[in-house]
């Protein structure tokens, strides 16, 4: 267990299960480093209290199986474009289309979730992947299950921040 700010700004600490979040953190670092040669720094961990999204470009994937929930990755538009360019090996200054960003961010989320899924095999957090969806826009919300904590991890790459949100809980066994 690791503690994190509860996000209410009163310095309250809550307990987070690192067995759940660490596979997503290492998955994120590995995907960026292996596929794009991009170093990624993990900054803060906290619990999300609202549904407002961090950036204009967000990928979302529903997770089901032994555990149920969702994972979201959210980037400011400029960083989303730079990251996708790096993955595609596109030269600096060359254009990345909105379709490239949409597809690229979806596939990055797919790889991160896939890596986490493999690391969580044989735990109560094991899940199945689904096809990712990417939303591009301003001031929108994406909800997460009310009764499941939503862990927010802030990362930094190319001097800009992006976030990964994980809200996942083992299914209650039917008696």
């Amino acid at each position: 267990m690791e503690t994190a700010d509860d996000g209410r700004g009163r310095g309250n600490r809550v307990r987070l299960d690192v067995r759940l979040i660490n596979p997503f953190i290492s998955g994120t670092k590995e995907v960026f480093e292996v596929m794009a040669g991009l170093p990624v720094k993990r900054k803060s961990l906290s619990l999300k209290q609202d549904y407002k999204m961090f950036g204009e470009v967000s990928g979302i994937m529903g997770l089901a199986g032994d555990a149920v929930g969702s994972v979201v990755i959210s980037f400011p538009r400029q960083l989303a474009e730079s990251v996708v360019s790096k993955f595609l090996g596109i030269e600096e200054g060359e254009d990345v289309t909105e379709e490239d960003v949409r597809d690229g961010i979806g596939e990055i989320l797919n790889m991160i979730s896939g890596k986490a899924k493999t690391l969580l095999a044989n735990t109560e957090y094991h899940f199945r992947l689904s096809i990712p969806t990417v939303i591009i826009g301003q001031d929108y919300e994406i909800s997460h299950p009310k009764d499941t904590p939503c862990i927010v991890v802030v990362f930094e790459s190319m001097n800009l921040k992006f976030v990964l949100q994980v809200s996942l809980a083992p299914q209650k066994k039917q008696e």
């Binding site: 590995e30 995907v31 292996v34 596929m35 996708v84 993955f87 595609l88 090996g89 379709e99 490239d100 597809d103 690229g104 979806g106 596939e107 797919n110 790889m111 979730s113 896939g114 890596k115 899924k117 493999t118 095999a121 992947l129 096809i131």
Partner: protein
């Protein structure tokens, strides 16, 4: 004679990354499909030397596609490498049982992909 390769992945980003990596091999034609249905249609009238396929795709996933290709005598022996985020032991075993020749987990480096291809095609 260069190789003909079919890349099957629902992500255009991933298809581009793979296509770029193939440039370091003697490849003279790259075909692309976004899911198993399109891939089978292409393979109905094109002969290829290698199929690189994703697992999670809409309409028909990679596992079902491999099974279908293996049922058809015309496509039963095409070398297939699964390139996928599904990297759990059980998934690898399932794909190999279904008829995939080799397996590569995403994320991968260009070198890892080239190595798998060479291994599979005995280059």
């Amino acid at each position: 004679m260069g190789l003909k390769v079919l890349i099957v992945d629902d992500s255009s980003t991933m298809r581009r990354i793979i296509a770029k990596t193939l440039k370091s091999l003697d490849v003279d034609e790259i075909l692309q499909a976004a899911d198993g249905v399109d891939a089978i249609m292409i393979l109905n009238d094109k002969k290829v030397d290698l199929v690189l396929s994703d697992w999670n795709m809409p309409r028909m996933n990679g596992l079902r596609m491999v099974k279908k290709l293996r049922e058809n005598p015309d496509t039963a022996s095409i070398p297939i490498i699964m390139v996928t985020t599904e990297a759990e032991r059980a998934s690898v075993v399932e794909a190999i049982k279904a008829g995939a020749n080799n397996y590569l987990a995403k994320p991968f480096t260009p070198d890892a992909l080239i190595k798998k291809i060479k291994e599979t095609l005995h280059l």
